[in-house]
Structure formats: structure tokens, C-alpha cells
């Protein structure tokens, strides 16, 4: 799978994003890292130009509640309904449902095992092939229940 790992907003901490990028690389995927401080528009442009299957968003600054749904909206407006969006970082449990409602399929918190992320991508790949609704604009209520 081709995957973009992105850092939206002003958050300057990308250790986690780089570890995830590396883990997904080791799981056999082609991972494009955007670098720090990207706008939602820039991230959507990267998703389009690189024609990726998944987009992973990392935020540790508390801006996820605004930025993540905004990116999901822009993806749908750009006709990228089949792109699967997941997130990670410091995202309190009670703030996750609105993100799922905005079209995200998984949220990974601190302590997530690398293997779990790889399993998630694997599952998404299978569901996509089977024609199940997993993309950001495909509806359905499937989400990945994360251990962390």
C-alpha cells in the first residue's frame, strides 16, 4: 500500500510520526512523510499527487479536533472518497468519537504496538479489495478498536 504520514498544524513533535513511518515501511509499505507544519490543503494535495491508499495524521498539540475533520472534509470535496484516514498522538478517549464520525477509521494512542498498526493496514487492504466501506467518503460504521 502507499501511505502518507502527515503532521498537520503547528505541532513540532514528529518522533512518533517518524517511528510509525518506519514501522509501516518495515511492514512492506511505501510511506511518504510530509515533514512538519503542513496545512490541511497541503496534505490533501500530497494525497492526490502521490495517489496513496491511506493517510495517517499525527497530532500531539491538541489541535486534532479541528484539523483532522477539516482534512477529511477536504478529501471528500476533492473526490478522494476511497482514501482511508487514521490518526495518532495525544488524543483523549472521549474526543475520539467525533473523529470517527468525521470519517476516520482508527485512532492510535501512546503505547500502540507497531504490529497493531501493520495489522490495521493489512485489514484495510483486505476490506478495500473486498469492496467494503473503509474510505473517508464511503460511509459505514466500521472502525478499528485500538488497544491504546
Amino acid at each position: 500500500m502507499r501511505i502518507v504520514i502527515a503532521k498537520p498544524g503547528l505541532d513540532g513533535h514528529d518522533r512518533g510520526a517518524k517511528v510509525v513511518a518506519r514501522a509501516l515501511r518495515d511492514a512492506g509499505h511505501e510511506v511518504i512523510y510530509t515533514g512538519l507544519r503542513r496545512t490541511p490543503e497541503q496534505i490533501v494535495r500530497t494525497v492526490i499527487d502521490e495517489d496513496v491508499d491511506l493517510l495517517g495524521l499525527s497530532s500531539l498539540s491538541g489541535a486534532h479536533a479541528f484539523l483532522f475533520p477539516r482534512i477529511c472534509d477536504l478529501l471528500r470535496q476533492s473526490d478522494c472518497n476511497d482514501v482511508v484516514v487514521f490518526g495518532g498522538g495525544i488524543i483523549p478517549i472521549d474526543e475520539r468519537q467525533p473523529l470517527f464520525d468525521s470519517g476516520m477509521r482508527a485512532i492510535f494512542g501512546p503505547g500502540t504496538k507497531m504490529q497493531e498498526m501493520a495489522d490495521f493496514v493489512e485489514t484495510v487492504a483486505k476490506m478495500s479489495t473486498a469492496g467494503d466501506a473503509v474510505g473517508v467518503g464511503e460511509g459505514g460504521d466500521w472502525t478499528w478498536s485500538s488497544g491504546a
Binding site: R22, R25, D26, A27, G28, E30, V31, Y33, T34, I48
Partner: protein, 289 residues
């Protein structure tokens, strides 16, 4: 479907161009199936090569800014290595190219080598041709960080820019043979660092005796030195004499490799060789008959 994508991509739809490039990368389309001619060398596809860390991506960003200011549209194919073990790749060239994310005259596509030999996927030539036919005036191919003998890039690029940097001292002498002989232009980047003048002087003296020595320019992405000169010279490079045979050789090897790797039984062959059932040489000999 690819036909439709091509016409949409030609009308400027980025998503269609992106999808088409995916089809190219996955070897699902060809010049013939897309009904586009194989492009003749005209100086518009420029290969940028050099060792890891010499500043290729950052230098390309400087060129993108300059050329798009001048009204040109520029495509970039940024190649990074795939893991020989997992097959995965971390593609990070975009990080240093700000134009990639918001300049409408720029289209950057990251490409993994997918373990094609020579560090250059065989599909890159078609990808460059597709970008050219979709309205991009220039296409830059950034190679994986390459050493002295990785010259596969000459099989697809019309002109070669070799990027060097100071502080690689004695290695420069050792690199006289190889890619340096095929470069159409050499830059010594990071000219703001100590030793840049000396590195440039060494390169010039190493190439002095050849018939058509390439131009050597000092550049710095930090101070901007030499960038305008480089942007101008790259558009006016003459064809370098003497490199035609080397180009033809690399094209032949590329075609040969592609043919070999697309064999249906390639995985079984690899497995047998790795298990020691026969050696690679024995297998090649048996095929030659």
C-alpha cells in the same frame, strides 16, 4: 480507462495524472497502450544525481522556485530506495521541496525503486514522458543517493546534473571515472561551507584532460549563490559528445533487466539460487543455450 485518464491528465486534472502515474509505476500501461510516442532526447528531462546528503532535493526546490517564477511547469520524479528485505520504502524527498505542496506549476511524485537493478525503476522513462505530454515543460528525475558507478540514469534523462559537496575530500579524486564522465553539468553545492572552492578546483582539474569537460558551478541553497546561473545553464546544455555509447549501453541493460524481472518464474529462480540449487551464473548459462 487509461485513455480517459490520459486525456483528463492532459487537460490539467492532477488526480488523473496521479492515477496514470500509478498505472505506469505498476507496469499496467506502456507507450503503445497509451498511444504516445517514445520521446526523443531534447534536453527537457534532466537527471539529478549525486551521493546521499549532498543536497539534491534542496537544490531541486531552488530550481523549482526559479523556473516556475519564469512561467515554466515542472514535474519531479523523486526516487528513493525500497527495502531489499521488506519491500517497503520511506519516501522523504518531498520534505525538502516546499513547492511540491502548494505550487500549481509543480507536480512531485515520489517513486520507490522496488528493487529494480541500478537503483532506477524501468518505468521512470515512461513516467517522464507522460509528465511531458501532460503539460510539464521540464521533468527532473532525482536519483537515489548514488555513488560513482550508478549511471543507469543516463538511460532515461537527456541531460545529467551531478551534485557534489565539499568535505568529501579524497573521494572526489577517486570518483573521476564513472558518473562524472557522463555528467553534462557538475555543481559543487553547499558553497557556503569551507573547502567548496577547493573541491571545485579538484573536479575541474580532474576533468581538464577530457575532450568536452562539463561546466562546473558552485551553488548554495542557503545563500542562493549560483542558483540563477544553474537554472539558466540547465536549460541550455549542449549534447555532450562521447556519451552516446554509454547511454545506449544503459538503455540496453535497462531493457534486459526489465525483461528478466518480468519472467513468470522469477520467484522460483530466485528461491532456487538462494537455496544453492544452482548458481546465478549457471542459470544464466542454461538460458543462453
Amino acid at each position: 480507462m487509461a485513455d480517459n485518464l490520459l486525456s483528463l491528465a492532459q487537460s490539467g486534472d492532477r488526480r488523473s495524472l496521479a492515477k496514470l502515474l500509478t498505472a505506469v509505476e505498476n507496469d499496467e500501461v506502456s507507450h503503445a497502450s497509451l498511444e504516445i510516442p517514445v520521446r526523443q532526447s531534447d534536453g527537457t528531462v534532466i537527471g539529478v544525481t549525486g551521493a546521499p546528503g549532498v543536497g539534491k532535493s534542496t537544490l531541486i526546490e531552488q530550481l523549482l522556485a526559479k523556473w516556475t517564477d519564469d512561467g515554466l511547469c515542472v514535474g519531479v520524479l523523486a526516487v528513493d530506495p525500497s527495502s531489499p528485505l521488506s519491500g517497503g520504502a520511506l519516501l522523504g524527498d518531498r520534505v525538502r521541496m516546499d513547492s511540491a505542496d502548494d505550487n500549481d506549476s509543480v507536480f512531485v511524485r515520489s517513486i520507490a525503486t522496488r528493487n529494480h537493478p541500478g537503483g532506477l525503476p524501468t518505468t521512470v522513462g515512461l513516467a517522464a514522458d507522460v509528465m511531458r505530454i501532460c503539460g510539464y515543460d521540464l521533468v527532473i528525475i532525482e536519483t537515489v543517493g548514488a555513488g560513482q558507478s550508478e549511471i543507469r540514469i543516463v538511460s532515461v534523462a537527456d541531460r545529467i546534473l551531478l551534485v557534489e559537496s565539499p568535505g568529501r575530500g579524497d573521494e572526489i579524486q577517486a570518483e573521476k571515472a564513472g558518473v562524472m564522465e557522463l555528467a553534462d553539468l557538475i555543481v559543487v553545492n553547499k558553497s557556503d561551507l569551507d573547502g567548496a572552492d577547493r573541491a571545485a578546483a579538484q573536479i575541474i582539474s580532474a576533468l581538464e584532460l577530457s575532450d568536452s569537460a562539463p561546466l562546473v558551478i558552485l551553488t548554495s541553497s542557503k545563500s542562493g549563490e549560483g542558483i540563477l546561473e544553474l537554472a539558466k545553464q540547465l536549460l541550455n546544455l549542449p549534447v555532450r559528445a562521447g556519451a552516446e555509447l554509454a547511454r545506449a549501453r544503459e538503455r540496453l541493460l535497462t531493457a534486459w533487466d526489465a525483461d528478466l524481472l518480468s519472467r513468470k518464474d522469477i520467484n522460483e529462480v530466485l528461491e532456487s539460487i538462494s537455496k544453492g540449487q544452482f548458481t546465478a551464473q549457471e542459470w544464466v548459462k542454461s538460458k543462453r543455450g
